[in-house]
């Protein structure tokens, strides 16, 4: 057990440990989970020189307030995040901080992640990684099934957060990353039950706007807008589900299934969000309106590779 740790002074709204997900066990009913915005997770690890898949702290809306009790730490925060650091050596002044930069923390310093701006998720990484126990080769937390670090629960007040390595240099690293998106267009491929819906409904699906409702979380985002008319059946033989699938329940409303999606489901799926737009979807907060745009498979693959290329360059 490491002796270096933070104490949680405020847990935040929904703070969990996440990595790139838990694979090869979906047939047991265990979904991949993992970060909602994996671009930001990777960049946060890159900033502190960790391998890209290392587990970090994901927070939503308001993040945690953490006091470094023992050890020195190099941390980075990614996302559109407002946060401050209180230095023990200078308690009267509050340091206003920037995302996408590393910070060196000394014993007694406190980091306060106050809010994400115009987005939902942000990430806190630490050089050397947090000390976390793996389950099926992953440290992703699934709160609904109680799987992952902290007994599968979100971070709570007074918890001790242990980390592995003591920081030994004062170097600083900064990367340029635009964390806001230019539009709310979500690109999709036709889903396995695309033809279950009336021609009129398919037209409306692509021409009208859908509002993100409050019933949105790491599992899925319920949308409100033109109700989709199913002309075949609103039940299908349950089949495997992937992240980004847009299922339509009997009431005609679409739900975008996200990181903690059910592994299998029985509602027809009209479309699937392309991988290149996962991060964009994840950061849309309730109340925002989106439109869907149909793309071809080859294009979707190209957008994904283009995005990876940009990520590779900043690393």
């Amino acid at each position: 057990m490491s002796k270096y740790y933070f104490q949680v002074e405020r847990a935040g709204v929904h703070t969990t440990f996440q990595d790139l997900g838990r694979f090869n066990v979906q047939h047991l009913g265990i979904c991949p989970g993992g970060s909602m915005d994996s671009n930001l997770l990777k960049i946060s690890n890159k900033l502190v020189n960790n391998p890209l898949h290392v587990g970090v702290m994901e927070f939503a809306y308001q993040g945690p307030r953490l006091k470094l009790i023992s050890g020195k730490a190099k941390i980075a925060i990614t996302g559109n995040v407002y946060f401050t650091i209180e230095r023990q050596c200078n308690p009267s002044s509050l340091e206003q901080c920037n995302s996408f930069e590393t910070y060196n923390l000394e014993e007694g310093d406190t980091i306060d992640i106050l809010a994400t701006k115009k987005s939902i998720y942000g990430y806190l990484s630490i050089e050397g990684g947090f000390q976390l126990k793996q389950f099926y080769n992953s440290v992703s937390t699934l709160t609904r099934s109680g799987i992952g670090p902290n007994d599968g629960k979100k971070i709570e007040e007074n918890l001790k957060i242990f980390f592995i390595k003591k920081n030994d240099n004062n170097n600083k690293k900064i990367v340029q990353w635009k964390s806001e998106f230019d539009d709310n267009i979500i690109r999709v491929l036709p889903g396995p039950q695309f033809h279950y819906f009336s021609k009129e409904s398919i037209k409306k699906f692509f021409l009208s706007t859908y509002k993100i409702t409050n019933h949105s979380d790491r599992m899925g985002m319920r949308l409100e807008g033109h109700k989709l008319e199913n002309i075949v059946s609103s039940n299908i033989a349950s089949e495997g589900i992937m992240k980004g699938s847009i299922q339509v329940t009997g009431d005609g409303n679409p739900i975008i299934l996200m990181a903690e999606h059910p592994t299998i489901g029985g509602y027809p799926k009209i479309a699937t969000v392309i991988s290149a737009d996962f991060a964009k979807v994840a950061q849309l907060s309730p109340g925002k309106e989106i439109t869907f745009e149909k793309v071809k498979l080859l294009k979707a693959e190209k957008y994904f590779h283009d995005q990876q290329e940009i990520l590779d360059k900043i690393y």
Binding site: L28, R144, L189, E239, S275, L297
Partner: protein, 232 residues
């Protein structure tokens, strides 16, 4: 063996074995699943990160950084039925169930819709020998069949935001158990005290595809006693 294989995402394909749901088709699904899932070299080579069998489909998720959809569809299409091995390791499980309406939240609505008494619903469900077609939706969640057509129901039009943990529920000819509290659209008929998924065990999931299950009716008092014992 495959009716169709096609992309459902830029990192996923679906293998379609047909539209019927029966043990014969399901055993082919499990056969292909085992063939892929037990072959680690093949999975690495094809960049397969998840293989998800269901009644009559397999969804395969792959890493687009390592492979493209063309090559994966080509390989999976080439798998032949004679290459598969069928395991026969069916174990019989007896699971307690309490049908009290405090837990069987939809017994009354099923009774009205299907025009049969609650007593008859309980009798027919209790007499059924179930076969586990697949696991999924949540860790340890079994999809079992087949119910008599007198008990056929549709999913709820609007799924519940919270289904209580260990609820036993039905839809069409199938029966399932929710191991954890979760959203869900099935019709709830009772509750079991048995834990279906224990992460600290070597094999966390109690049930698996191909297993057989019978329910044993217990009183509300017995359910409470068993639940408190399980939580010790």
């Amino acid at each position: 063996m495959f009716k169709k294989i096609y992309n459902i995402s830029d990192q996923g394909i679906i293998c379609d074995f047909g539209s019927e749901i029966n043990k014969e088709i399901n055993s082919k699904v499990i056969g292909v699943f085992n063939y892929i899932n037990n072959n680690l070299d093949l999975k690495r080579e094809l960049g397969i990160v998840n293989c998800i069998p269901s009644y009559n489909k397999i969804v395969i998720q792959y890493d687009l950084l390592l492979v493209s959809s063309d090559s994966i569809i080509k390989y999976i299409s080439s798998i032949k039925e004679h290459q598969l091995s069928y395991q026969n390791n069916q174990k019989k499980f007896e699971l307690p169930i309490c049908y009290d309406t405090e837990y069987g939240l939809d017994l009354e609505s099923i009774s009205k819709q299907n025009k049969i008494s609650i007593e008859e619903i309980i009798y027919l469900h209790h007499e059924t020998s179930f076969y586990v077609y697949m696991m999924g939706f949540l860790p340890g969640f079994p999809f079992m069949g087949d119910l008599t057509n007198k008990l056929f129901t549709s999913r709820l039009t609007t799924p519940r935001v919270f289904v209580p943990a260990k609820s036993v529920a039905i839809v069409e000819k199938f029966c399932a158990i929710y191991p954890f509290e979760s959203p869900g659209g099935w019709n709830i008929i009772g509750k079991t005290p048995t834990k279906l998924f224990e992460k600290n065990k070597k094999n966390p999931s109690l049930l698996y595809p191909g297993a057989e299950v019978k329910f044993k009716s217990i009183s509300k008092e017995a359910l409470m006693v068993m639940e408190s014992k399980h939580n010790e």
